[in-house]
């Protein structure tokens, strides 16, 4: 992830399943390239299916970009835990992290594609959310 461009919006993938999260990240890397800061997290603290706030915070930290971070989530807890993680960020960072209303795999690829072209956080979110438009 060291080759990622600090100008580009970071992408965080949050799934109940670490395999899905990692697999989605693999798709992003292979299809979009390495210009985009990217991190994934999945599973609860005991290694089972689920999500955890600490893991999400760490992923946001890893994918952090001054341009902001777009978070892609799968179901229920992934979304609420992501929102909780955003709430826990320092105030100056909070406004630069958005949870997208988009399918996790497709949304991650599209968000990263948009980000790789240097688009703003708002444009990255809008593009990912086009799937439900």
């Amino acid at each position: 992830m060291s080759s990622a461009n600090a100008r580009n919006v970071g992408i965080v993938i949050v799934s109940h399943s670490p395999k899905i999260a990692e697999g989605a990240a693999d798709m992003v890397r292979q299809m979009v390239g390495s210009a985009v800061p990217l991190a994934w997290t999945g599973g609860d603290v005991d290694g089972g299916l689920g999500t955890n706030v600490a893991g999400i915070l760490e992923a946001i930290e890893t994918a952090w970009s001054p341009a902001g971070v777009a978070v892609l989530v799968d179901l229920g807890g992934a979304e609420t835990n992501s929102e909780m993680a955003v709430e826990m960020l320092a105030e100056d960072r909070r406004a630069r992290v958005v949870v997208c209303n988009a399918p996790v795999v497709e949304g991650a690829v599209i968000a990263a594609t948009e980000s790789s072209g240097g688009s703003s956080l708002a444009a990255v979110k809008r593009s990912a959310e086009e799937f439900y438009a």
């Binding site: 299809m31 599209i110 594609t113 948009e114 072209g117 688009s119 593009s127 086009e130």
Partner: protein, 104 residues
């Protein structure tokens, strides 16, 4: 075009068009769509594509819209570009399609 760009737009206000046949096996599926939009985003020109000469036109900078075109192998992709770097943009789009997005 806005008035501020009128002097530049004077030369490029007429859109450039060209077409190319999709040669890669799977057509304009996910990966080629990503490559195409990434390439399109490098230019300031407005870039659109269509499966027919008279449209409907799709924004080539939108990965979701480009994937929805579902252009199969053998389809002719029509491009319409307008803007200061339109010529270079059109050449880049055509090169990408001719090369089968690097996956033929």
């Amino acid at each position: 075009m806005h008035d501020a760009h009128a002097s530049r737009a004077g030369e490029t206000s007429v859109p450039l068009t060209a077409s190319a046949v999709l040669v890669n096996k799977v057509g304009l599926h996910a990966r080629p769509s990503v490559k195409l939009t990434q390439c399109a985003k490098k230019f300031v020109a407005k870039i659109e594509l269509a499966l027919a000469e008279d449209g409907p036109w799709t924004d080539a900078k939108s990965p979701v819209k480009v994937m929805r075109v579902k252009a199969p192998q053998g389809a002719t992709l029509h491009f319409r570009v307008a803007g200061a770097d339109g010529e270079a943009a059109l050449a880049a789009m055509l090169a990408l399609v001719h090369d089968g997005f690097g996956e033929v």
